[in-house]
Amino acid sequence: MKHILYSVVVLLLLNGCTTTTPSIQEYTINSKSAVGKSIQSGKSIRLATTKSAPSLMTKNITYIHSNGESGTYLYSRWSDMPAVMIERAVSNTLHEHSLFKAILPSTSIATADWLIESDLASFNHSFDATKQSYGVIDITYRLIDPKTKNTISTKRFFIEVQSESPDAKGGVQALNKATHVLTGQLIFWLDSTISEKI
């Protein structure tokens, strides 16, 4: 009896100390492919796992002010890490454009003709001094010949898309558009590089 009483008192105490918080909104990147079809190169390509800065290795949606102050949205987050979402978007885009006969993930045991590596430096909702906000993606891609270990080409993509609203939703929409622009530019770069190579 005493034990039951003590347990009820503890439960009531804990219940009284709790607070309610709003639910967390999860967002993701919709990987809409860029318009256009490329000539198939007849080669296969492996997408290496995108390496990102430690601050981007979370599901938090990061915002940065012009004075350098940064933080994460409290009630909004990504469904996956930004590197994973970008990798998925790039893979879907490459499949849509049929530029390669096979797109292999990093864990595949098949050998590929080319390898593409990427380094994600920024993926955030940026605010400037005029309170305008942008979705910013800063990523560098390297096209490598795995047989000779030579770098065929490298390119840095810095994309800014203005957001419609200065909040998490606006940031997510801007970053979605920025990802769409990134995939388009990436396809164009790969197409031109492969055409020179062949």
Partner: protein, 322 residues
């Protein structure tokens, strides 16, 4: 008393004698000789023709065939004596014939001898306007003179060399060498006993060497016998061993081929075996890294506000629009 001289007989005698004298004179002068029976040739001699006169005989292999018609110094070359020879037409003077000046014994009288002329050579053509020239050969006296001159010159050179060889210094050296040789032979004579002993030892050495060679020959025979026995052993006993070695080698070869085929298939390719595991491992590592960052952030928050674990004391910072 009147002489009883028959003047007619005297006159006839005188006439006959005169005619005979004139005939004799013609015969002696050889006026009956007809010029068209002779050919003329020129001959140039570079030696003295002393003893040779016009009308001297010209012989062809010892047979009189003509005479020397004229002798004069060659007007074009004062070193030569030009002779014109009158030779019977029938004489076969060939182009390779040559003339030489010869002498009758010790009288000093000279004649011209034509020699040579092979059977197959052509005749030396001549005519009255342009006499052909017979080549001349040096006479015996000229050859002797030249030979003697050479001999004398060489003898003089030899004598000069001999004079240098037999100079006083060389003679002294030769005398000293002879003296040394004499002392050497004397020493050799003193050593003859030792030489005899050495020869005896050499003889003994030779006999020992002969015995040793015989021993070596016998050893060689025994080695050959042993080698033959070994060959027999190899051919009989070792053949079975070789056959088994050959069978083992074939089995090893087939085994090696199987191993090579397995390797080519990739059965032992460590890279393909380890690739899936390494990929999974890489994935695990990256997820562990993410977990580590999350834990680090959580621990940092707890460190900053430990009571948030139970009572959520700190006010979380909301983002723009929140």
């Amino acid at each position: 008393m009147e002489s009883k001289v028959n003047y007619t007989a005297v006159g006839i005698f005188v006439l006959i004698l005169s005619i005979a004298l004139i005939a004799f004179a013609f015969w002696l002068g050889k006026y009956n000789d007809e010029e068209h029976n002779y050919h003329r040739y020129r001959l140039y001699i570079t030696e003295s023709v002393s003893g040779l006169t016009p009308e001297a005989a010209v012989k062809f292999h010892g047979v009189d065939v003509g005479k020397v018609e004229s002798i004069q110094i060659n007007p074009r070359n004062s070193e030569e004596v030009e002779l014109v020879l009158k030779i019977n037409k029938s004489t076969p003077i060939k182009t390779d014939s040559s003339a030489v000046l010869k002498f009758y014994g010790i009288t000093g009288l000279a004649f011209i001898e034509i020699m040579g002329g092979s059977k197959n050579a052509s005749l030396l053509e001549t005519d009255e306007d342009n006499y052909a020239t017979i080549p001349s050969s040096p006479s015996l006296f000229q050859r002797l003179d030249e030979s003697l001159s050479n001999v004398a010159s060489k003898l003089s050179t030899t004598l000069d060399h001999a004079d240098r060889i037999f100079s006083d210094r060389n003679v002294d050296n030769l005398a000293a060498s002879l003296e040394h040789l004499r002392s050497l032979t004397q020493q050799v004579d003193d050593y003859q006993n030792d030489i005899k002993a050495l020869l005896a030892q050499t003889s003994a050495l030779e006999s020992n060497a002969t015995i040793s060679l015989e021993s070596m020959r016998q050893a060689g025979v025994s080695v050959k016998t042993t080698s033959d026995n070994f060959n027999t052993f190899v051919q009989t006993k070792a053949s079975t061993t070789l056959e088994s070695l050959e069978a083992t080698s074939k089995q090893s070869h087939s085994l090696i081929q199987k191993i090579e085929a397995s390797i080519d298939r990739g059965d032992y390719d460590l890279h393909s075996i380890a690739a899936p595991a390494s990929a999974e491992l890489n994935e695990l590592i990256s997820q562990t890294r993410v977990l580590t960052y999350e834990m680090e952030a959580t621990l940092r928050n707890l460190r900053e506000s430990p009571s948030d674990l139970l009572f959520k004391k700190s006010t979380p910072k909301s983002g723009p629009g929140e």
